[in-house]
């Protein structure tokens, strides 16, 4: 314990359990005045949950928060704000149609003559704050007209305006360009110089090493260690983050790839905000092999998969499925008919119509054709027959053909999706995070199915945020970073090497 620098915040034994998952498992954390303390961990390691607890948005199941020697409990964000905690959410809590100043003062507005909103006063105060901490932003501009980097500054100012002494930055660089990130680091350093304490949440090693004074690593809800920056290395942190764990061994033989089933050429795709998130991706998947795409969340995987399956328009480039070349406008129906099977990353949002029963869900692609329908007439009996068959074949438990999909457990819901996609004998099966949120048994099941699919001569494209999964299943591994494929490896690739590429540690390793 260093005596000169006072500890202003302590989290002791914080535990939070969500149905099906332990988000935080007795996590300890402490923060000193005037330091940047990074919270490092992969997606789902429990960082955001921990901070939501600190900010009063979520209640812990166990553990206590100690501030300045006193145990406190926050039942809402208001309490946390009152205690001098400010949080910049990964997704900004800003109102686009209001000005910067209005957003900052909302809830604690300066008032003139008793009733009138003192806009000038607010703007002046915002200017003052932004000069003090070097956060250049125009208080009169509308939030919808400023850049994401500026919006983030508005969020920081919002916290400072409320007198925050502790500032939580949740993945602050995730939405920033490198230049904006560099500016953010300067701001953080100036805040630190001003005596603020900053919790910097990240999963990017390089930036943590650049900015933090101390680093706490979380892995799967558990605190691994807290280390000072001095002496920490990317390799060492990566090992702590990913851990040496028992890999899920999947029994599989060596692949015997056939001809090209899926070929993606120079694909460019825009996201919902019209930003280019897939920037010229080219690769091919052969029949009888599993190609895994490894990468940290938000590096263009979602958009890539949506483009290949026709759910998102492509900006340029082409997709060739089984010899049929697709360019320009795509639609899901054409891609389905071309032979693409798709296990989507979110089975509730896309994969299933939760209010449909299993028979109806299992027909989601095939209902247009005989035997399901003829000339527009649907034959529910055929749907049920198929469902009875697939339920037995794929060992779907907990319901029959008439059971609503929402009544099944997560694992069985995923089995329904897998059954539907696999049963169609697709030329290419695209599995996007196919084991997300599943228990061990279901994970093994899905893995076995994917390998079986490969062994029966189909091409499989596996996109996963879990490196273990990619490594244990894929015959070839592609690494995606910022919308580009930055590395390609064989089945025996080293975990750490790939991990570094995923985290941008070795930029542009492969063009």
């Amino acid at each position: 314990m260093t005596d000169e620098i006072p500890t202003i915040l302590q989290l002791r034994g914080i535990t939070k359990i969500y149905p099906g998952i332990v988000a935080d498992d007795h996590v300890d954390f402490d923060l000193r005045r005037g330091e940047v303390h990074a919270l490092l961990g992969e997606n789902g390691a429990g960082k955001s949950t921990l901070m939501n607890i600190l900010y009063g948005l979520t209640k812990p199941d166990e553990g206590e928060i100690v501030m300045d020697g006193k145990t406190v409990s926050f039942s809402s964000a208001k309490d946390a704000i009152g205690a001098g905690i400010g949080m910049v959410h990964q997704h900004f809590m800003l109102i686009p149609v209001m000005t910067v100043a209005e957003n900052i003062v909302l809830g604690v507005e300066p008032v003139r003559n008793g009733v009138v909103l003192d806009e000038r006063g607010a703007e002046a105060r915002v200017r003052e704050l932004s000069q003090q901490f070097g956060l250049a932003v125009d208080p009169t501009a509308l939030v919808e007209n400023i850049t994401v980097g500026q919006q983030q500054r508005v969020e920081i100012l919002k916290a400072l305006y409320r007198g925050a002494e502790i500032l939580i930055l949740d993945e602050p660089t995730a939405v920033l360009t490198p230049q904006e990130a560099a500016e953010l680091f300067e701001i953080v350093l100036s805040l630190r110089a001003d005596g603020k304490a900053i919790i910097f949440i990240s999963h990017k090693l390089n930036e943590v090493l650049e900015i933090a004074d101390r680093i706490t690593v979380l892995r799967r809800g558990k605190k691994i260690d807290t280390v000072p920056r001095e002496g920490a290395t990317e390799e060492g942190l990566a090992k702590m983050m990913v851990g040496r764990e028992v890999l899920l061994r999947v029994d599989k033989t060596a692949a015997s790839p056939g001809g090209v089933s899926l070929e993606v050429e120079d694909l460019h795709v825009l996201d919902d905000r019209r930003l280019e998130t897939v920037r010229g991706v080219s690769f091919s998947v052969h029949a009888g092999e599993i190609v895994g795409i490894a990468g940290v969340d938000g590096n263009g995987q979602t958009e890539l998969v949506e483009a290949i399956t026709g759910l998102r328009q492509i900006d340029s480039g082409s997709i060739t499925v089984d010899g049929h070349r697709f360019e320009g406008r795509l639609d899901p129906r054409r891609m389905i008919e071309a032979g693409i099977g798709h296990i989507p990353e979110d089975r509730h949002r896309r994969g299933l119509v939760l209010e449909f029963n299993l028979a109806e869900n299992l027909a989601l692609h095939d209902y247009t054709e005989p035997p399901d329908s003829r000339h527009g007439w649907l034959f529910p009996k055929r749907l049920v027959e198929r469902a009875v068959r697939l339920i037995r074949e794929f060992d779907i438990r907990g319901g029959g053909p008439f059971t609503l999909a929402k009544a099944l457990s997560g694992g069985n819901q995923q089995k329904v999706v897998v059954a539907r996609e696999v049963a169609r004998n697709p030329v290419v099966l695209i599995a996007a995070q196919p084991t997300r949120g599943l228990d061990v048994g279901a994970i093994e099941y899905v893995h076995r199915r994917l390998v079986a699919e490969r062994d029966s001569g189909h091409a499989v494209l596996l996109v996963s945020l879990e490196l273990d999964e990619v490594l244990s299943l894929a015959d070839r591994v592609l690494v995606i970073y910022e919308g580009r494929i930055v590395g390609e490896h064989g089945a025996d690739a080293g975990e750490e090497e790939i991990g570094l590429e995923m985290l941008g540690g070795r930029k542009q390793a492969v063009a």
Partner: protein
């Protein structure tokens, strides 16, 4: 690394799953069975009765008067009384005349609802149909009867479809909210119809230019009546068209790929798009079909009994708006819409022209109808709440020993049934039906089952349901609908029947995993550091 470990702050508010009402109501479609709508209606009638009582009238006589005014008492008339122009018969025929319209305007709301769209424009679409039918009926007077009627009906349905299609098109192309555009289209139609029928309007009658009303539909376009006299506004064959529309509605939704697509879009547009469905096109199609139903309603009214329409009639018409209450109360299903239309048909006629002024003042009663209508719509809005409790209870029952461990006590059931003269058996009848419904998510439910058993249908239905449950699991069913024949034998047969039901259910549950939603799966894996 699964990101659903952190379900809160990581979801931006605009992408937060917002349970759209259509989706929620759709979810409710299969839950709750008959009981919720019945409760809703009872509650609304009770509240209406309280108002009646509070204002110094006897609610019992008022409702009794409305019942008689609707002609419902004719249903219980003595069979040898064959006098068909009997006043009760006439009242009932008038009720059915309104039911005809309400079925169709109800379907016009129900169909798009299943696609996740709320069509408030039934009134406008109805008027468009009315106007077009009048135009065809008046202007094509040289046509022979059958083609003339068919042309009128077809043109009106088409016009209604086009009118509603505007809202669907705007929704699909510009994202304009269908509620706002259908409200606007309503009023455009209302004023448009007043223009057309009004003084100097293109469809005004030619013989009395001072009267702002349409010309009369030619005799060749009149739909013939089958009950009552055509001179006394008898019930016309349009009634069967409406019944057929109910069947068509059911067929489209449940037996066509279009219906499958519509329901998929209604429940989850994103999953529908993923499945290869063109969501925008479904919006347009659903609205057009809805408009066709409403347009058809206008045609049947115009060619069935109105024949002529004036500006004042346009202003007073509310029938399209009643479609909202009909569809909501009927849970947007075919049978429900039919029954709700009958209820509202009786209410509308029984509180106005059918009501004996000496029993209860029709001008009060007419407004009572609006109140009940409002209350029903209001309660349907809230029974999401009722259903929430309902579903939660069902889940609890299902996971926490809905079926007692070690099977149900068949012997005890039989014994107690014997000693309570069958009363205890009725309780188990209820439970069995409820269970079957909970398992299959279709069926008549507990109360419905008991009611149907009273008229004898239920005793065949239950074994047939249970049999299907076995078949769907790929197992040989121990019982089938024929098992119901046991119940024909008095008393002892009933006990045997009951025993067979309970034993079969025991067998079923014994072989099936009864706890589908339990046991949280922890995704943490062994880590060796």
């Amino acid at each position: 690394m699964s990101s659903n470990a952190e379900p809160t702050a990581n979801v931006p508010p605009e992408q937060e799953p917002h349970p759209d009402f259509a989706v929620r109501l759709g979810a409710a479609q299969r839950a709750g069975g008959l009981i919720v709508p019945v409760l809703t209606a009872i509650l609304a009638f009770l509240a209406g009765g309280i108002v009646v009582a509070a204002t110094g009238h006897n609610p019992w006589t008022a409702y009794r008067g409305i019942w008689d005014g609707a002609g419902f008492n004719w249903l219980f008339h003595i069979p040898w009384d064959t006098n068909t122009i009997h006043i009760d018969a006439f009242n009932l025929s008038q009720t059915l005349l309104i039911t005809t319209t309400l079925i169709l305007t109800g379907l016009a709301v129900a169909f798009p609802f299943r696609c996740g769209l709320f069509n408030i424009g039934g009134q406008g679409q109805y008027l468009v149909g009315l106007v077009v039918a009048n135009w065809v009926g008046v202007d094509f007077a040289s046509w022979p009867t059958l083609p003339h009627v068919l042309l009128g009906i077809g043109a009106a349905a088409f016009a209604g479809a086009a009118w509603a299609g505007i809202a669907g098109f705007l929704k699909a192309t510009t994202g304009a909210h269908e509620v706002i555009s259908t409200i606007m289209l309503n009023w455009i139609a209302i004023w448009g119809a007043q223009y057309l029928f009004g003084q100097g309007g293109p469809l005004q009658n030619t013989y009395n230019t001072a009267a702002p009303e349409s010309g009369p539909v030619a005799q060749s376009a009149h739909i013939p009546t089958f009950w009552g006299s055509s001179l006394l506004q008898g019930l016309d064959y349009g009634f069967f068209v409406a019944i057929a529309a109910l069947v068509v509605f059911w067929l489209i939704l449940n037996r066509t790929t279009l219906g499958y697509e519509v329901r998929a879009v209604g429940f989850n547009p994103e999953a529908a798009a993923y499945g290869g469905i063109n969501v925008r096109r479904k919006y347009i199609q659903a609205m057009a079909i809805s408009g066709a139903f409403a347009g058809l309603a206008g045609a049947l009214d115009m060619l069935g009994y109105l024949f002529q329409f004036g500006v004042l009639d346009v202003q007073a018409s509310q029938i399209g708006f009643f479609g909202i209450a009909v569809a909501l109360l009927g849970r947007n299903t075919a049978i429900g819409t039919g029954l709700a239309a009958f209820l509202f048909g009786g209410l509308l006629y029984g509180t106005t022209r059918g009501l004996d002024p000496n029993v209860f003042d029709p001008s009060l009663a007419g407004n009572l109808t609006s109140m009940i209508q409002g209350l029903i719509v209001l309660f349907v809005g809230a029974d999401i709440f009722i259903l929430y409790i309902w579903n939660a209870r069902r889940k609890v029952r299902r996971s926490a020993g809905f079926v007692p461990d070690g099977g149900r006590p068949v012997g005890m059931v039989l014994l107690l049934s014997f000693f309570t003269f069958g009363l205890y058996g009725i309780y188990w009848l209820y439970r069995s039906f409820a269970e079957v419904r909970a398992e299959r998510d279709s069926g008549v439910g507990g109360v419905g089952g008991v009611l149907l058993s009273v008229i004898g249908v239920g005793v065949f239905l239950l074994p047939s349901y249970i049999g299907k449950m076995f078949t769907e699991r790929g197992r040989r069913p121990p019982i089938s609908g024929w098992t119901g024949c046991w119940a024909i034998f008095p008393y002892l047969g009933g006990l045997i029947w009951m025993a067979k039901m309970q034993l079969a259910l025991n067998e079923y549950w014994g072989a099936v995993d009864v706890h589908p939603t339990e046991t949280p799966h922890v995704a943490t894996r062994e880590v060796a550091t």
